[in-house]
Amino acid sequence: MSLGTIFVMRHELLLIAAALLVLMAEIFVNPDKRRYISLFSVSLFGVITLIGFIPSPTGSLFGGMYVTSNTILLMKNVLNIGALLVFIQSVTWLKKEENSEKISEYFILLISTLVGMNFMISAGHFLMFYIGIELATIPIAALAAFDRYKNKSAEAGIKLILSSALSSGILLYGLSLIYGTTGTLYFNEVAALFGNNNLQILAFIFFFAGMAFKISIVPFHLWTADVYEGSPVNITSYLSVISKGAAVFILIILLFSVFPEIIATWQKTIYVTAVLTMTIGNLFAIRQQNITRFLAFSSISQAGYILLGFIGGNQLGMASVIYYVLVYIFSNLGAFGVVIAISNSKGRENIEDYNGLYHTNPKLSLIMTLALFSLAGIPPVAGFFGKFFLFTAAAQKGFYLLVLIAVLNTIISLFYYLLVIKAMFINKGENPIEKFRSDFPTRFALGICVAGIVVTGFASILFEVIRNLSFGV
């Protein structure tokens, strides 16, 4: 292996270097200049995100443990964009007195999880994949407990670490069965040896349960609500968008390239869990009063829609999944961005608090509306095209009933998204959130989200690019 080939893992190397640089900064920077660390980390990460778009060599390393392709690079770039938005949205929150000592800690942990996700997506071997998953999960548990003197935050951390330990256990059980029946953990070798016998189906179901936990697919989703509510809002948005997106990416790669032999089985699995996820997610979302919890449950049903892109096993399916994750990043982070801005400056997080928001903060209300429209899939914003492609991909393979159920769920979801919009525009607030001006990072991040929602909807060239990089079973 010559030194040049190491740059195949450019994304991971850059991230590791960034984590180390932030650590150095923490050690060497004068304590009263710590507040510049945010700026430093965000701009560093911005540069890394940009570098990610430079075309780079692809191939495999470490005897096939690590592989990358243009599709994988695209996925990593999508995740980078999302993570960058979360980074920017965190800046204001990190300025708070109680966080001033932990700024670099926050960035190092976040970057570590991103390294884990990148390794996970790039894995060519189940061991590598597993290491990636754990590297992506454990720091997040620490982040969930970031406000460690708040009970809820500590609870979120401990709940996340315990339930992910359980899911890892099940996942590892599945992997060991895979190893036991095939004698290898390399993806391409497993693919050749996997068949439709009962033991291997059991292995697959356990593996799927482990992944379903990460994407919070029903019935493996129960941790979500408590963790999302307890964690700091920034972490919640990270969990619901980036972590979920990464898990979606690796799951679709594995289903398409490692388990094509048992496509009939995993189509049924996806069918059942997709229906459950959309429906249950919606049913819970309707009842929520707290806006973070509300977005958390809505993100569960969003995961259900994403599963529709999996089920056909077609190229259009994969393209629609990647596209939807991108759209979802902008839409959900747009919605979370508004929630964060309000929570940071006013500390209010209930849907009731949003009554009459339009009269005091019209711009924030409009951004929120745009983001919710996109999440609900109302044309012509990006979310509509995202859902349209997902549904088309499923319909192309004849899953009409599933598409019908998904459409019905979309209508239900429209109801509760509109409730928030109604609160902002129509309801009279007795004690509305006063007018306030958010600071530059918040506005900047929201601006990117709005631009993203609009541009990804209209620039069809984007979908073409994604489609050309996708593949089917």
Partner: protein, 639 residues
């Protein structure tokens, strides 16, 4: 090949202006936003003129015919490998001609509006909407495929809606904008159905493929027959329905007179010169299909055009609101253009009607915009729309008077003004193909001269009226466009359309046929003469005539009760016998189902709350149970 790719900026620039003025307009000084809008339009006007020059005089002809050039094209939505929707720019004689028409009139209207709308609330909003309209209209005429055309077709509908309802505090303006939108939307439904049938039949949206006379779309013929007409004919009739709505042809003409509630410059631009001729443009764009695959549909076009033109001309003779007279006159003149297309054939001298229609579209845009802008100047001076309240204005408004007179002479078809040439070609085309339609149009020519000069004499001559304050001539921003358009009305008749805009792109010979020209000039003069006798001075002849033809007059004055007929059909028949049962069904069955779903959803969501207990051990239990259930399901039950 000349590179025409820059033409994409012609529609794009107004779009950028729309975004700029729409988002930041209220922060700019009103004057500045007006200047931005006008300046942007001036640039694209110059670009359009350059394009026209390059296209007509320097581009390469193949076998003596102008080529259709796809100057720019991107795939916007790739739905499947075959089904894709493109956006682009198509240059051919008619689209280049339309570029010139739209940008010229639009620029004049922009300049005029600087004066006319001065001090109005929402000045920058007005210019933002005008830019949006220019963008949509240019996108429509430059469309490379029928779907793009449909998208922009709807966009012009929206901008027209916004501009008619510009004075949104006025209930009548709001009503008119709704009416225009709903009526044209209804017609557009037909258009959409037509597009779907057509593209299903031909497997393409693309105009170049569709309208190539030697291409597969036309060669495959009409397709299977349905109710005596081929599928292709049906689709083209449906497509034409969209054109009927947008061009305010009978029976969808009812929105146009009401649309006069919008500011007068808007009436000049949208409801006289550009948008309302979109229907004519549509038929011209699809003309080879009409001519080869759907001759029956083409006959429909001819008769609808002829009937509308007669019908509207009769009504115009009785109206007193000057803008409404002009509106009906527009319907009548567009009827002429439709008729000319309807009687035309394809290629060579057969295509005389096609050429005449485009020619008349061009000259009509100039003189009708001039008439409307002149009417705007008059209304500006005397603050009323009713010609009964005017008279003797020639002393106060000399420039408006002169330009208005030129426009009236032009529309009456007096040589050597432009209207004479274009109308003469239309009459000649009708004369050779269908004597009945020729007779109708011949009468309409006389009526046109009569009602235009009725208008002219009542406003500028007639009785001396006392005004609250002395009317004064409009400012230069308003008179300059009048003069420019008047020059256009006088001289555009000399443009050799038979060499430039023909059905097959090739030159053919035409000459003035005296057998048609002399009678048509005579009947025009006759109409002017009658109007002179009746309205030159205050006289009782008109009242007497109205009394003699009491019922005819009353019917025509009330526009043949078309609005009432529509109201009767919608309120008494559709609402009572269709909508009410549907509403009952909706309230009880549909809403009932929905309410049931909602209450079930609510109660289920209440019941399953227990799952979300917050207890981790329970979560783990559900997790493991779920995994085991899935395993059992897929290993034993459903394999």
């Amino acid at each position: 090949m000349i590179n025409f790719s820059y033409t994409i900026w012609i529609p794009l620039l107004p779009f950028l202006l729309f975004i700029l003025l729409g988002l930041a307009g209220h922060k700019l000084k009103p004057k500045l936003s007006g200047l931005f809008g006008t300046g942007g339009l001036a640039i694209i006007t110059i670009l359009s003129y350059i394009t026209a020059y390059k296209y007509f005089f320097t581009s390469e002809k193949i076998e003596g015919a102008y080529q259709k050039i796809s100057a720019f094209n991107i795939t916007w939505l790739q739905l499947t490998d075959k089904l894709h929707i493109d956006l682009g720019v198509l240059l051919d004689p008619i689209s280049v001609m339309m570029l010139v028409v739209i940008t010229t009139v639009s620029l004049m209207v922009h300049i005029y509006s600087l004066g006319y709308m001065k001090g109005e609330k929402g000045f920058e909003r007005f210019f933002a909407f005008l830019s949006l309209f220019s963008f949509s209209m240019l996108g429509l005429v430059l469309a490379t495929n029928i779907f793009q055309m449909y998208i922009f077709w709807e966009l012009v509908g929206v901008s027209s809606f916004l501009l008619i309802g510009f004075y949104y505090q006025k209930p009548s303006a709001v009503r008119a904008s709704k009416k225009a939108f709903i009526v044209t939307r209804f017609a557009d439904l037909g258009f959409l159905i037509g597009i779907l049938i057509l593209s299903f039949n031909t497997k393409t949206f693309d105009f170049i493929t569709l309208t190539d006379p030697a291409g597969s779309a036309i060669a495959q013929g009409g397709g299977i027959a349905f109710m005596g007409l081929s599928v292709m004919t049906w689709s083209m009739i449906f497509v034409f329905m969209g054109g009927v709505g947008k061009s305010a042809m009978f029976p969808f003409h009812i929105w146009l007179p009401d649309a006069m509630e919008g500011p007068t410059p808007v009436s000049a631009l949208i409801h006289a010169a550009t948008m309302v001729v979109a229907g004519v443009y549509l038929v011209a764009r699809m003309f080879p299909i009409y001519a080869f695959s759907a001759p029956a549909a083409l006959e429909v076009v001819a008769y609808v055009g002829a009937f509308s033109s007669l019908f509207a001309a009769v009504i115009a003779c009785t109206q007193t609101d000057i803008k409404r007279v002009l509106a009906y006159s527009t319907i009548s003149q567009i009827g002429y253009m439709m008729l000319a297309l309807g009687v035309s054939g394809y290629g060579g001298h057969e295509g005389l009607g096609y050429m005449a229609s485009m020619f008349h579209l061009f000259t009509h845009a100039m003189f009708k915009a001039l008439l409307f802008l002149g009417a705007g100047a008059i209304i500006h001076a005397v603050h009323t729309n009713h010609m009964t309240e005017m008279g003797g204005l020639r002393k106060y408004l000399p420039i408006t008077h002169m330009t208005f007179l030129i426009a009236c002479l032009t529309i009456a078809g007096i040589p050597p003004l432009s209207g004479f040439f274009s109308k003469d070609e239309i009459l000649a085309a009708a004369f050779h193909n269908n004597k009945l339609l020729f007779a109708v149009e011949y009468i309409v020519a006389g009526l046109t001269a009569f009602y235009m000069f009725r208008l002219y004499f009542s406003i500028f001559w007639g009785k001396e009226t006392h005004y609250h304050h002395t009317p004064h001539e409009a400012p230069a921003t308003m008179t300059i466009p009048l003069i420019v358009l008047a020059i256009g009305s006088v001289f555009t008749g000399f443009i050799p359309f038979n060499e430039l805009v023909t059905s097959d792109g090739k030159v053919f010979e035409t000459e003035i046929e005296l057998i048609v020209a002399i009678p048509s000039v005579l009947i025009g003069l006759l109409g002017i003469g009658i109007a002179f006798v009746m309205y030159r001075k205050e006289s009782e002849i008109s009242d007497k005539l109205a009394a003699i033809f009491k019922y005819t007059y009353k019917w025509a004055y009330n526009k043949f009760y078309m609005d009432e007929l529509y109201l009767f059909v919608t309120k008494k028949i559709i609402f009572r016998y269709i909508s009410e049962p549907v509403a009952w069904f909706d309230r009880h069955i549909v809403d009932g189902t929905m309410n049931a779903i909602a209450s079930v959803t609510q109660s289920v969501s209440l019941r399953i709350k227990g799952f979300q207990s917050g207890q981790l051990q329970k979560y783990a239990f559900v997790f493991v149970t779920g995994a085991i259930m899935l395993a059992i399901l897929f290993i034993y039950l459903w394999k």
